[in-house]
Symmetry: C2
Subunit: 303 residues, 2 copies
Amino acid sequence: MYSIDKIDKLYEAVDARGPVCVGLDTAEAYVPPLERRKWARDYQAVWAYNQALIDATVDVAACFKVQIAYYEAMGLGGLDTYAKTLRTIRERGRLVIADIKRGDIADTAAQYAKAHFEGIFEADFVTLSPYMGMDSLDPWLSYTRRTGKGAFVLMRTSNPGMRDFEYQELKSGGRLYDAVGDRLTELAATRLGKHGYGAFGAVVGCTEREEAAAIRKKRETLFFLIPGYGAQGGAAEDAAILLKNGNGGVVNASRSILKAWTTEAQEAAAVTCSDAAEAARKTVITMRDAIRAAVTAKTGACH
Amino acid sequence: MYSIDKIDKLYEAVDARGPVCVGLDTAEAYVPPLERRKWARDYQAVWAYNQALIDATVDVAACFKVQIAYYEAMGLGGLDTYAKTLRTIRERGRLVIADIKRGDIADTAAQYAKAHFEGIFEADFVTLSPYMGMDSLDPWLSYTRRTGKGAFVLMRTSNPGMRDFEYQELKSGGRLYDAVGDRLTELAATRLGKHGYGAFGAVVGCTEREEAAAIRKKRETLFFLIPGYGAQGGAAEDAAILLKNGNGGVVNASRSILKAWTTEAQEAAAVTCSDAAEAARKTVITMRDAIRAAVTAKTGACH
């Protein structure tokens, strides 16, 4: 017996509100100084800013992604802010991706799955690293079967170092990331949601357009988490290529949203929390509209 | 300017006390029932048991490894126990490996490095996943340069799923794990500690003896973190092959130490915390002596 798959809900969220995933990689330095000054501790300022950001973008974003590294770096208070951020997003009826990139096996993997699919750190999706092999996904999969939760597995990222291992050509054909994609495709085939995607998708960064188009075509059943928009140099056209008719993926931006206030005309020292949230909202809308326009242009040109 | 390398200290610890790494993957279920019953919360029982285990093994173990997944699964209280466990080990003058298997890039990797190389979760070593490439190691390396800290990067593990990706043959020759080993060897060559090892070693599981011997021979400058002893089926002879003259690696056991009390003759219900710690100590000594004997046998036979 399956509960409603989160991946189906994510597809419907993209249909309803566009493909932008708001990345809450909230460093204290991204909080406007006026707000920062109100709080004794970094994690308190981050919590205040996160609430304002969620409020301001909840109706224009598909979902949220919370990068746990920023919260781990603030200690127990940071992890409390992480838990509250996840809870707030879920209470607002939105899906949250815990960007944790965990990857371990057996009992340890089961403990990680328990940590991030239930309890105070409960998320709807997680990101996972495939290096140790497909058995590292098993404990997460058993939650998926019970609760419909999902994951995005690192496949083809867009950092320079991806050439070191992900991009290595295999003797059996294809690159390492293709082998990861093949195994995820096999997994997806065991059960597709009503919109045609498996519960476990892939992290695929913006890359050269020809390669991106080939990846999208080959992985019809994989929902993509697409990072690298904005701060990492991607553009709407690149993201549109990794989508399938404007869906089948969410496009994450973090810093360009969180720090949108730094490019406003007024003095940084005078920016309030709500000014910053409003700037974030505008950035999300601009990004959503640019991606939608790129999708339309692509479709119109019959590519 | 380098401070004293932790990897040199680890080598000296193995020389002084043998190669056993005590793995504190402490689930509540591993705490004897009599002790468990004293505490309202799982993480309190784990904290009590960890203190007893550290006390009982501090003079017979090379170092400790703490698997963060078990603590994440217990929420904020669990992470508080994790922090206190690390601090206690360091205050006792012992080295601690944070088994976190993180792997991310750029600012995110820098946040993870900050989280686990300073602050309340400060460890001497971490474990890392190489999938995204060598640039995922950079922020950790900059700590190494300042503080002498080190890491063990996943290379060749011994779970069945390791065949999925780690074991893939590359078009350019060797397997994926060889490519990881090559890059780590290059990195080690940029600076070796006084005992001949780089600050970043590798996680290498017990495997077929021929392959293990080849890996050891090829990776002279990499210190190994060797899991899979005991509960995962390895043996002293297998571990000895991955060591270099009885050093150059630490051999981790977790469950077989933590749960040693379950094989004692007396009723489980009557086992005290100090009985369990004493059983753990005996297991560590037996393991240490078995590995030392296997090392001597190997050397004696001129292999």
